[in-house]
Subunit: 157 residues, 2 copies
DNA sequence: ATAAAAGTTGAAGTCAACTTCAAGTCAAGC
DNA sequence: GCTTGACTTGAAGTTGACTTCAACTTTTAT
């Protein structure tokens, strides 16, 4: 398959494919300068990459999921750790959702006077809640996507 | 309070405080060149900023939560929309966790032969799962934090 | 045969939220 | 009065995952 075929079938952009190749996540059968040709298995690889990203793995971590010959070899401890991590994240998000929903209907004239809101604030500042990141521009949908909190404190220094 | 006092009490770094001030999220009583003095209410502001960040709002969005005079004025529709968004995210994360847990114990010699894993892959590639971001270095904990998927497709353009 | 479309490369740009740096200012203790 | 140490500023650097650009080369269609 040529690159445009892979783009069509995978939904991954050509520049991302080239980037993945440079980073060692996928391979193509190519002499430099000529056009890339991909084996059909690249689609499976891209699927695993997408899965890994959705689960919160970095590209470096995802690369470890492939053996040098290109087959899949998941580190089960790594996977389980990520699942645990996601679970903790979900718990925090759930209390966050509850708090936000309350804030949206709270009858108190000022949120600073509402006990539930105070509790939310304390949960956000003390304890485990931390930085988050967010993506760039999105398209013409009404509701905008966003990123989500990470766990764990950053070092001051 | 001077800046070091705010750093101590809030846990927010001095450079972040200056950054927030430049971005218009907090205010200080200062003639340029001299040292910043913060009113005690800055701590409440910082708490709200931390909450907003944990919920996935950008700094620009968080700025909208403050009126020009510095009091809090939450847009309830915005809050409710964010709660909905987090809820969708949680649902996706939950199926992701389930899939990961399965992958970690799956008896199939190759994941590509496991039907549950196939299903996970399909869920990750087709449909709503998208890019994610992740934070920088973290401290000496065993398990590493990470970011999480966002919703919504980016334009090919 | 040739023009346009599609592909190639390395380098630089993007985004958000900060951090780090360099160079200078100010304040407090001895 | 002078050395620290805390603070100030604007500018530039960081991170991850890409995208965009400029300048070419290669196919494909006419």
């Amino acid at each position: 398959m040529d690159i445009s075929e892979v783009v069509k079938r995978s939904g991954v952009s050509a520049s991302a494919l080239r980037y993945y190749e440079r980073r060692g996540l996928i391979r193509s059968l190519t002499d430099t300068g000529t056009r890339r040709r991909f084996a059909p298995t690249v689609l499976d690889h891209l699927a695993l990459i997408a899965l890994g990203q959705a689960a919160g793995f970095s590209l470096d971590e995802i690369r470890l999921m492939f053996t040098p010959d290109g087959s899949v070899a998941l580190d089960r401890n790594m996977i389980a750790a990520k699942a645990d991590e996601l679970e903790r994240l979900v718990k925090r998000l759930e209390s966050m959702i509850e708090g936000l929903r309350h804030a949206a209907v709270c009858p108190a004239p000022r949120h600073s006077e509402c006990p539930s809101f105070q509790k939310l604030l304390r949960a956000a500042t003390s304890g485990a809640l931390e930085r988050r990141e967010r993506s760039g521009k999105d398209e013409a949908q009404v509701s905008r996507p966003s990123g989500v909190a990470t766990i764990g404190r950053r070092k001051a220094r």
